[in-house]
Symmetry: C2
Subunit: 214 residues, 2 copies
DNA sequence: GATGATAGTGTTGATTTTACACTTTCCACT
DNA sequence: AGTGGAAAGTGTAAAATCAACACTATCATC
């Protein structure tokens, strides 16, 4: 017997997570290949159902840790998806999250629902299961907004020490637009979000100063 | 028998709506007095459970129309509230919406759950049922952000034709900060979001030109 | 016709944003 | 050891935007 007078329908509620990293010079998204119907064999965003004793943020964090072994720094809830027919199994409300992390920190694991988990370059990511194409697109739009508002949002994609050129290239990847080197450096250096280190990255060229999040 | 392998918990999902209007020179929020337990007799935000055949936006619109008789123009989904213990009756996920409208358009109706519905000035609004104080505060913060980003967001609070002084006073109410008259007018007039009318509001003083949304 | 109250109107300085090009430093190669 | 290639690093000027600021105009009322 329900405690509610009008006995509301009770959808399942899931957190679906757009987990992005930087690999092979591009943004890649963590996808799982579905092991069961519906959409068997198709790629989907990782996610899982909200459990009794957790709120949505905790659910997203738990799912993410199950999937990647990584405890994420910040996760960003960015939209709900609630079309009645978005899941053929029945009513599922999806709360979408965005998380950024470093591919090197991740040991991919298959899980209950996922036959396989893999990083996929964004460019070749189409025809995901359910409405996950739409969720992914919304995540990327949000990522771009956040990066423009504060490039420090992108730090979790990078190692603890990074060069400004590297940060700039990630910024350009996420926003889709090239920016002027001097203006970008000025902006970031004056933002107080980074501190210069007495260390340099050496390569075939002039060594580049390393910076760390402030 | 569930279509899901892991038989997820099934919370109720509700849309709760912060409906604001302008009354007596202040922002007021539409509240309903709870007719049943829990929180019997306390004020709460209007809202209701997601039904089988509707998505969240449709749910919010339907609830709002039931409560006010007004079909809202834009509604803004701004946050989820999902603490496991936020409703003593059981698990309820609340999706919070913000809507603006004109008090004159509204015929308040009591509804199933609501013994009474009334506009309440924000200043005197405390100790709402559930976590609705928090939801309301989040709504006001979001309103302020939206208004600053684009004062046209506030148009639904105003009649179809309004003076710039009136728009400015609403802007100041929502953002909490006074702004310079000339700067504000310049900003709004150059935004292309309003058009001047050949009509004036007459009072005890110099007539003020009326404007309409572009 | 004087008073009171709101409408209406431009300019200036400060700040922020954008555009733009050359020198430095290291490695690798010869 | 000298040269060439490649990315690192650096400053300035013009443009656009934002912020501050005070007086005149017009109506209603008395």
């Amino acid at each position: 017997m329900s405690a509610f007078c009008d006995d509301p329908p009770r959808p399942a509620v899931a957190a679906d997570i757009v987990i992005l990293c930087l690999r092979e010079g591009a943004l890649q998204v963590l996808l799982v290949r579905r092991g069961g119907d519906p959409f068997r064999g198709r790629w989907a965003l990782p996610g899982g159902f909200l459990q009794e004793d957790e709120d949505l943020d905790a659910c997203a964090r738990r799912e993410m840790e199950e999937e990647t072994g990584v405890r994420p720094g910040r996760i960003l809830q960015f939209a709900n998806f609630s079309q009645p027919d978005r899941d053929p199994r029945g009513r599922v409300i999806s709360v979408a999250y965005l998380a950024l992390l470093r591919a090197e920190d991740v040991r991919l694991k298959a899980s209950a629902d996922a036959a396989e988990a893999a990083w996929r370059p964004l460019a070749r990511t189409r025809n995901l299961a359910f409405d996950h194409d739409v969720i992914l697109a919304a995540a990327l739009a949000r990522l771009s907004d956040e990066a423009r508002a504060d490039p420090a949002f992108l730090f979790p994609l990078l190692p603890p020490a990074f060069t400004l050129s590297r940060l700039q290239s990630v910024f350009e990847l996420t926003t889709g637009r090239p920016v002027d080197k001097r203006n970008f450096r000025k902006l970031v250096e004056e933002s107080g979000r980074i501190q210069p280190l007495e260390a340099f990255e050496r390569g075939a060229h002039r060594p580049a100063r390393l910076f760390a999040p402030a």
